[in-house]
Symmetry: D2
Subunit: 281 residues, 4 copies
């Protein structure tokens, strides 16, 4: 029986770029982290250490910084498209280039209704992501959100589930629903106003989460996916990951007090993990 190298890839991760774009009346600050990954005809690098087809990951990094100057001018999606294409065009032995970009969100400070021209504050842990996969004959583009911390204090229940010998959970028609949502959706084409679409889709996700009468995380997850696909024909499918960050009612009975859904233990582990992909038939 012979051995062989199957799937393999290499690249540079965590290329941390910040950029200042100077507009007449204010400075625009952008901060991104880029991952580059290449696949292709690299067999001999593995088998005999022949590096003649290897574009070093250090050079990939330099390329990202150099191209950021002229080509990172609007959305991370468009910069990702430019980068993927650059690596494919300039390296004929590369059959697939994957670019992942994560953007940290910064907001201009505002005081008494006046926005400061060049002072920024972090908008929080929530990040905008984009993934471009380009092969010789195809481009796939996805956008997403990570570390979106959201919760609702009511309109969420969990009842009528299976009971067996290990059941201790009590049914409830009213609980806290908290999640660190990760969403990623694939577009049908790559000529789009990505910035505008991101805003629209993010709002659809938040609004559905907020207004849904939730009977389970699963049900809300599907509703959120539906909302995005129904309102955006350019979205092919959406993948949602919704860990259930449990807030467990603290037992105040033992101290002769009532806990009317007021006091909770906020826990990190263990956590429920609910995932699903909504697509078009």
């Amino acid at each position: 029986m012979k051995l062989k190298l199957k799937k393999n890839a290499y690249g540079k991760n965590a290329i941390n770029v910040s950029k200042v774009i100077r507009h007449p009346d204010h400075h625009e600050f952008r901060q991104i982290s880029v991952n580059v990954s290449l696949e292709g005809d690299f067999e001999t690098a593995h088998t005999i250490g022949d590096n003649t087809k290897i574009l070093p990951t250090d050079t990939q990094k330099n390329t990202v910084y150099a191209l950021a100057k002229d080509h990172f001018t609007d959305s991370i999606e468009n910069f990702g498209l430019y980068l993927a294409n650059f690596f494919i065009i300039n390296n004929p032995h590369v059959s697939k280039a994957t670019i992942e970009i994560t953007e940290h969100q910064w907001s201009r400070m505002a005081f008494d209704g006046v926005t400061h021209p060049h002072a920024y504050i972090s908008s929080g842990s929530e990040k905008h992501t984009a993934t471009v996969v380009q092969t010789v004959d195809k481009i796939t583009i996805s956008s997403g959100i990570t570390d979106l911390l959201i919760l609702k204090t009511t309109d969420s229940g969990f009842e009528n589930y299976i009971k067996d010998q290990y059941t201790t959970l009590r049914e409830t028609a009213d609980r806290i629903f908290a999640t660190q949502c990760e969403a990623s959706w694939e577009y049908t084409t790559h000529k789009l106003d990505f910035t505008d679409l991101f805003t629209t889709i993010r709002k659809a996700l938040l609004k559905t989460f907020a207004y849904h009468k939730s009977l389970s995380v699963q049900q809300t997850l599907l509703a959120m996916g539906y909302a995005v696909l129904e309102a955006n024909n350019v979205v092919k499918e959406i993948d949602l990951k919704m860990p259930n960050k449990h807030h467990i009612p603290f037992n105040l009975d033992q101290f002769g007090m009532d806990n009317n859904n007021e006091i909770f233990i906020a826990t990190d582990e263990p956590y429920g993990y609910i995932t699903g992909t909504v697509t078009r038939e």
Copy 2:
């Protein structure tokens, strides 16, 4: 030569409490993490394992959850004052109780100008802190901010410093100034509108950072401290920690391009670390 136990303390850390307060038209969601630390006459616990004066850390935790129901109703400062006093009053052998509270910030979601009654989104990594230290005859109270990620893209330089045989840094009149600021200020009294003061002091810190023409991190740090103390007589002193999160210009010259302060390498380590305390004479 004899040995002895000097400073010692014990308590429970990371007591994670979330609370829902139901107002007529909306739900208020609060999430805090509490540290309790007690000092006092615990010598025999150490020397002979006599636990008869030890209030278990598990009980400290239960106490925080139980008291949260009726006494965590407004600011974390007031809840900290209540907790510290409770431990001192109920445990005569405790000579000092320290309560540290960190509040995670959540904002109600808003859609098209309408604030949702019970759906929340995280306001980011920035957290509000409070520390209460109560002894038999004295109460000290401080408030603060941690993980305040702020930056400005100009109005910051660093020049005319010492040059020696190990100097390679180039002087610049225009650089990015980014920091993960931690501030903590002590009040002169504990009967105050802490929520209002926090808002006022936070704004003074941000505004000074934004508008200061910075010749060094040190200079801006002092200006921020001055701004807080000058405008708030109830603040006794303020301690500021301002790590310099370097954004280093990427060398585009090597590729025949100019980097007009546009493209930077965002780094985490190493980082400058500037600290200072501003007080009243």
Copy 3:
């Protein structure tokens, strides 16, 4: 165009179990973290909030603790097999159960050649992993290692790679090669002495890494994969992830000193990321 739910799964992550097994002459301490994930006929939970086929993740957690008493007695692989089978057998509507177990490594303390019967010290960040996937008609089992921090100070070079307009990296025949290796290998069957195999395979990985004359990370990765498959017929294929944790020579020339491969900047980001799967034809 209609919408539909595609792939979906739910379960409980980070179920942290520790167990003490009392042997006549010593105590055995085990610490694991278990993830449970179920797939199956859960459509109506998503579409109409019908939870009657949902085994709550809280119950999954309880099940893991309860079954750990009698069935977590030797390898994590065997406990994973038991758990996957339990969920499949007891929940006819579940078509696929995935159990991931990560074991933290603890070693008994030893003093002057004598092993202590019940005092332990952590063996470090390296962890043993196992994944069992069971469907109605198939069981797949993999073992692995994560966070295996290894490095060699020589016998590693990187030369003869592509040079283009963005190349600044210098070729070197002698560099530090450091990685946080993650390996995962699939077995051909699930009736095996997993503990013994883990020891054998781990040693093959380390030994190959140590003795290989590396012309690139890619080449060493393949050699490590080959070594495992050549010596272990029960291994079907192995997946390796080898981030290149760069140690960059510090430029001492600028201070009139030579850096003969002695002084390095240890960096976390950015990092090279090399992955590959070795399989049998």
Copy 4:
């Protein structure tokens, strides 16, 4: 009332240095992280942005790398002493230099009893630390350990503590005692064989932890401190931090099973936090 700058300091943190020392028969690999902090006559830097007395933190970093070549040859304590002295001697306006060094531990791999000459594996999360504080007329030196993960499965109890209205903890004569110990001890002089002393003191800490019949974390903490001071006259005092990483018995009664101290929930938060300093009278 006038304002003034009180305590202030600045420096560079996380200067990550790795070094290869080539011995005839093997390579020695060392990895450290250095913090430099300076105090002194820096008032005008804060008040008017006069940087003429500021040694940039970038230069501090370069100095550490450059001096590592000839002066980081044995213990981190000796390198710390050299660095502190260098900054004090060369910067007359600096009144106090603090050097903190953390060393990551690496072990040479061994196969079948043979130690490999240049392949290393991480020894785990445990790190050796050293702190040197030098002023114009005084040198203080401390060594320590951080992230020392240790536990014992028996010989630990907690009973006879205070009970009040919030007590729910059950007394136990037999529990798991797990901690992530941090120790730091000050030496009486700085002419010592620090490497040898570190080994001796570390062993005393571990051995006392292992063999102590613990009635509380407090009691074991004191015993560990005593053991170090009793056997080492050159240690002036020792500071110990011992968070109690709780392993809570899982309630198997509810499923009709007995939990004979076998199955535990391993938790990170909340955690007990016990600290103490043992000194000489």
